[in-house]
């Protein structure tokens, strides 16, 4: 095990996969000379050269579409969005082209493409820069949506995403780049797509989250454990397709579910999971499911107010209390 930051873990994943497969390339704004706006790609230009670490003009639609075309021709592009919020100007290329062409061509083309970058609010950069687009992308039938919380998962899942023959939307927590964690050192360390993990075992209530929200839950747990509430905490890691089996086995034990997600509430992934659970596990539930999400207000600049709007430990604690009532 090595102790790495989330940022370093991602950097290692990129570096190892670029090393492993010549058809992998990284494209985006400031990924080369600058080393990435968040320094995720630092050092890669020197290692792999400008043919494979490609700085672009500020033209998300064009370089995203270019990556889609390159994938259709057999390459394996990794597209970095300086911030996932900027992907909004490339949505046609992402959704219609990366998301639909395989299907519309009767399955003739593969899209081994990763879209990645920082996502989510909490850094006081206003509504335009603070979207959590996981739900929007999870709404595309052919997309895999990943949102790791810890450095090891960031590395292992990014490597899996790059090796996948299907399009992956990879959401990195903007507030997670600096956190540290143990990361296995073997070169072929992969975390499987679609598998959640239990962070803490418990018996009273299952709390489900992903990405930065998992850290919000960890904070809430400090209070909850003092209250002797035993929380089974599941970190989803992959949002779509999500690990229903692990959720189900946990609910057989706890019979109570709280879902914590960073996105806005309406039509969020938590709503889908809540639907599936009440539909398929109705008899297991002893209480209504609670969702803790962003409030339905654009993210404000004001820091105190933004924290109030984002899912926060207080609301998680409140939801856990409610579900146990």
């Amino acid at each position: 095990m090595a102790t790495l930051t989330y940022r370093q873990a991602l950097n290692e994943a990129l570096s190892e996969e670029l090393e492993r497969d010549n058809t992998v390339f990284l494209i985006g704004e400031e990924v080369g000379e600058y080393g990435g706006a968040f320094k995720v790609s630092q050092g890669l230009l020197k290692k792999f050269g400008p043919e494979r670490i490609i700085d672009t003009p500020i033209s998300e639609a064009a370089f995203t579409g270019l990556a889609v075309g390159a994938a259709m021709y057999g390459l394996r592009p990794i597209v970095e969005f300086m911030n996932w919020s900027f992907a909004l100007v490339a949505f046609d290329q992402i959704i219609n082209n990366a998301g639909s062409i395989r299907f519309m061509s009767g399955g003739q083309f593969n899209f081994p493409i990763v879209f990645r970058g920082p996502s989510g609010g909490g850094t006081q950069i206003g509504a335009t820069h603070s979207h959590a687009l996981e739900n929007w992308l999870a709404n595309v039938p052919t997309f895999t949506v990943i949102n790791p919380a810890f450095p090891a998962d960031a590395k292992g899942l990014l490597k899996s995403a790059i090796r996948s023959n299907n399009p992956v939307c990879f959401f990195e927590g903007e507030r997670l780049y600096g956190i540290q964690g143990d990361v296995p050192e073997e070169k072929d360390f992969l975390v499987p797509i679609g598998k959640a993990q239990i962070v803490t075992e418990g018996k009273d209530v299952t709390v489900l989250s992903s990405g930065f929200s998992t850290h919000v839950v960890l904070q809430a747990l400090e209070t909850l454990s003092k209250e002797n509430i035993s929380v089974e905490m599941i970190d989803l890691r992959t949002i779509k397709p999500y690990d229903f089996d692990l959720v189900a086995s946990s609910l057989q034990k706890t019979n109570r579910l709280v879902i914590v997600e960073e996105g806005k509430p309406f039509a969020g992934w938590g709503a889908q999971i809540a639907y599936d659970v009440q539909h398929l596990l109705f008899d297991e539930l002893d209480a209504p499911i609670y969702r803790v999400s962003n409030l339905d207000i654009p993210n404000p600049y004001n820091g105190k107010l933004e924290q109030e709007i984002l899912p926060n430990p207080l609301r998680v604690i409140q939801a856990v209390h409610n579900v146990l009532r």
């Binding site: 075309g69 259709m72 021709y73 299907f103 061509s105």
Partner: protein, 357 residues
């Protein structure tokens, strides 16, 4: 518009007297036949559409056949072609079978896209035909990406991307030209300027005409060609492809043409006069070419009749094939959503939305 037509006639005069007549006879016959094939194919699809056997949108390229045929005659089988939704003609010119094309229009599993794409979304990876793209200008950056990959893989191939005159006003078109010029990608963009985007005549939508001037801002080679003259299209696209292929010089071509039918099958065509259409039809690319070939003794009346008969049969067979082919089912739709995984453990993918008992 008037200036387009006079321009085109001038070019046509040049063509008649130029060295273009050097093409081998077989090739010239092939160009002619392919244009006729496209014309008859689309006339038939128009009929089937009226009989409600073809549904959805159906955009015909009648009048624009010389571009499809000239382009495909100018590039090799390893080069890539990509276009917008008005794609039947170029797909046929690229050598995709009329059967597969017709079956796609009928929504059948034997179609070019297994009935999942329809008229606007023909694809054939083996023939290096990369679609059929129905969001205006969306194919432009894809073409740049294919060209990027061609160079990345150190091939000597090029990509040709067709788009409409309306597509020129999309942002992604401009972003893409900037990229391909900056990176000197082996790609040729061909604007099929039929002077209309649906009902909007080009002067009502576009500043900075003629369209070829868009190349100037991005420091690309620009060409204007007569899109009604199949041999000129072939020759100029060949030149352009060579520039892209050998000189790292992406090219923007404005090909002047006219669509003789409505924008799509459901367009009553109220925004232009009968006289204007009749005037344009005087430069019907098929009529122009057959006359030229007759004049030069390459075609005879008999040969024309024989070709018509052959093509009629091909079209009939395509319709029969389409009609008798099976419909795609949910299982197929589900299967093609995802490529097989070979380097990772494949995730389980439930079909969300299905009601489970």
């Amino acid at each position: 518009m008037v200036d387009n037509i006079s321009f085109s006639e001038q070019v046509h005069e040049d063509f008649k007297s130029s060295a273009l007549a050097e093409l081998p006879k077989e090739m010239r016959l092939e160009l002619y036949k392919t244009m006729v094939l496209i014309r008859r194919f689309e006339e038939k699809s128009s009929q089937s559409f009226m009989q409600a056997k073809i549904k959805g949108f159906c955009h015909l390229s009648i009048g624009q056949e010389a571009i499809a045929v000239g382009v495909c005659a100018a590039i090799g089988p390893e080069d890539v072609v990509i276009t917008a939704y008005r794609d039947h003609g170029i797909a046929l010119a690229r050598g995709i079978s009329p059967k597969a094309c017709m079956a796609e229009l009928y929504g059948k599993s034997t179609g070019t896209s297994k009935g999942m794409g329809g008229s606007m979304h023909f694809f054939d990876k083996n023939k290096k035909f990369f679609g059929g793209h129905a969001i205006v200008a969306a194919q432009c950056p894809i073409a740049a990406g294919v060209a990027f990959a061609q160079r990345y893989l150190k091939e000597n191939t090029v990509t040709v991307c067709l788009l409409g005159d309306g597509a020129v006003n999309q942002g992604v078109f401009h972003e893409t030209l900037n990229l391909v010029s900056l990176w000197k990608l082996p790609v040729v963009y061909i604007i099929e300027n039929n002077q209309y985007a649906m009902g909007t005549e080009i002067h009502r939508s576009t500043a900075g005409l003629p369209l070829v001037k868009k190349s100037v801002a991005y420091d690309m080679a620009g060409m204007v060609i007569d899109g009604m003259n199949v041999e000129e299209v072939r020759k100029k696209v060949l030149e352009a492809a060579n520039l892209a292929r050998n000189e790292n010089c992406p090219v923007l071509i404005e090909a002047r043409t006219y669509r003789f039918r409505g924008h799509s099958m459901s367009d009553p065509d109220t925004y232009r006069t009968k006289e204007e259409i009749a005037e344009a039809k005087k430069r019907d690319p098929i009529a122009l070419y057959s006359q030229l070939l007759l004049d030069q003794g390459v075609l005879t009346r008999d040969l024309i009749a024989q070709i018509d008969k052959e093509i009629k049969k091909v079209i009939q067979e395509a319709v029969q094939y389409a009609e008798s082919s099976p419909e795609p089912d949910l299982e197929l739709a589900r299967k093609i959503c995802f490529a097989e995984e070979d380097s990772i453990e494949p995730p389980q993918r439930p079909l969300y939305g299905l009601i489970v008992d």
